[in-house]
């Protein structure tokens, strides 16, 4: 089981007009592992995971998620697949006209089949408890701190019990202590839901805590790939720059 990747990316190309962002990117994600992707601002990290979830169309290359080729799926198949893939946005992306409860209920409304025999309220409460925010259930997003927003967004992601979670800078904009709390929470969630994750981050502490493996995205390709410890000792200039 463990040698079958849940995400398989090979020679992926993506450009916006004349701006070549991904130039033959390759990576795999296996069951039950966390892969950290690091890269400079603007290197295309967000673009990469938006391609994975089908928010952006790719130019060419192989992109398989849970055995399905993303570019070949129609809208219905894509929606079905997205039930199993959670996406944590860089800015949390909470719906600011809705309460925390309504935010969490929103992904449930389109997928009643996944709710069979489960109580909607229970699911919401359980997800909030798992991120330590049970008391915030009736608050509006505007009333939450940055760290709380990230937690609520995390709860909204895990409520669908995804097999894969894609994190876009889960700790950015937080103080180091809260950042670490979120990182440990991500590890706890991985254990709880047995999910595999791609984690995009600039935060070394987060990368160290959560990552089983690390990839440096540089110049549109998978520039270096190893464990945190191995990469942190690398003499290679662009790699070294991240650990200074």
């Amino acid at each position: 089981m463990n040698d079958q990747p849940v995400i398989e990316i090979e020679n992926l190309w993506k450009s916006f007009g004349t701006n070549q962002v991904l130039k033959g990117f390759t990576m795999n994600l296996f069951t039950g592992e966390n892969v950290v992707v690091m890269g400079k601002s603007g290197s295309g990290k967000s673009v990469l995971i938006k391609c994975i979830i089908g928010l952006l169309p790719v130019d060419s290359g192989k992109l398989m998620v849970l055995g399905k080729s993303i570019p070949e799926l129609n809208q219905k198949e894509l929606d079905r697949l997205r039930m199993d893939v959670g996406f944590q946005f860089q800015g949390s992306a909470l719906y600011d006209s809705m309460t925390v409860r309504e935010n969490l209920e929103f992904p449930l409304r389109r997928h009643p089949e996944k709710l069979q025999g489960l109580d909607r309220n229970k699911l919401v409460e359980e997800a909030l408890e798992n991120v330590g925010l049970a008391h915030a259930i009736d608050m509006m997003p505007a009333e939450l701190s940055g760290g709380m927003k990230k937690r609520v967004a995390l709860a909204r992601t895990i409520i669908m019990r995804p097999k894969i979670i894609l994190y876009d800078e889960p700790t950015s904009g937080l103080d180091p202590v809260t950042g670490k709390e979120i990182s440990y929470l991500m590890n706890a969630i991985k254990e709880m839901y047995n999910a595999s994750s791609i984690i995009i981050t600039h935060d070394l502490a987060c990368a160290h805590i959560t990552g089983n493996r690390m990839i440096i995205l540089h110049d549109g390709i998978n520039y270096a790939e190893a464990t945190y410890d191995a990469l942190s000792k690398s003499p290679n200039e662009p790699v070294k720059a991240f650990f200074e």
Partner: protein, 256 residues
């Protein structure tokens, strides 16, 4: 050169708005239908503009009557007052003024709301969680505009006529009963058809422009303000253009 480029973006945008409108009608027909959100939007639109529309309607009625009164008195035609004001308000002033207020209040609100949802990736988040954002956000808001504008116009017309009747009562001693029976004597049902049918297009224009501008707004929070602004400018202008076309068409029918 710069002029050419502006002209090119103008035509490109017109084309995109046309496609956006076509998409509205296409997706409107197919499920899933977001009834709850539609009802919520109708309520919000009504709630937001009720006071504004009533106040401006009342003032329009009062001002129109006060200003035309001396002229009519001079020609000894004061008894024409209810008919004249009634027709002016129901056929033209009520729909156009209310539509302009809605373009300002609702069009800018929709534009700013969707633009900030776009910038903060809330629209992407919807898409990822399996909800079609076009159906959930655009269809509901545009439909709510189309449905609520006639309601607001009827309210505005009614309040205007009351304002006018009050002036007539105070200045000319005309009873409310006489005033309104006079208005309805001259106001034909046929007067309602052109004004209601142009309201459909006003509502469509206000909703579509607000949503289109919001959906296509560029990154950055300053984009939100600019979006709201251009939504108001374009939809107000469209209200006048559509009104002009509607009046031309009605004119042809009157001559027949």
């Amino acid at each position: 050169m710069a002029g050419m480029r502006t002209l090119k973006t103008y035509f490109a945008e017109t084309g995109e708005i046309t496609l956006f409108t076509a998409r509205y009608f296409r997706e409107f027909l197919f499920p899933p239908y977001e009834f709850r959100e539609l009802l919520r939007q109708c309520f919000l639109i009504g709630n937001k503009s009720l006071a504004l529309v009533s106040i401006t309607g009342f003032i329009m009625g009062v001002v129109l009557t006060l200003q035309t009164r001396p002229t009519l008195v001079e020609f000894g035609a004061e008894s024409w007052m209810p008919a004249m004001v009634g027709i002016a308000i129901v056929r033209e002033i009520g729909p156009v003024v209310t539509a302009l207020i809605c373009a300002g209040k609702i069009g800018s609100g929709i534009g700013a709301e969707l633009a900030s949802m776009k910038v903060t990736e809330q629209i992407d988040a919807m898409e990822v969680s399996g909800t079609n954002p076009f159906k959930y956000l655009v269809i509901t808001r545009v439909t709510a505009c189309i449905l609520m504008l006639p309601v607001l116009v009827i309210l505005s017309d009614f309040v205007s006529l009351i304002g006018s009747a009050i002036v007539e009562h105070l200045k000319g001693g005309v009873s409310f009963q006489l005033y309104f029976s006079n208005v309805f004597e001259y106001l034909k049902f046929g007067d309602l058809i052109p004004s209601v049918s142009k309201l459909f297009f006003f509502g469509l224009a206000i909703g579509i422009i607000g949503c289109y501008k919001g959906f296509t707004s560029k990154k950055g929070t300053e984009g939100v303000g600019r979006t709201a602004n251009s939504a108001v400018v374009i939809s107000s202008m469209l209200v006048f253009v559509l009104d002009f076309i509607a009046v031309l068409i009605t004119d042809i029918f009157y001559e027949l």
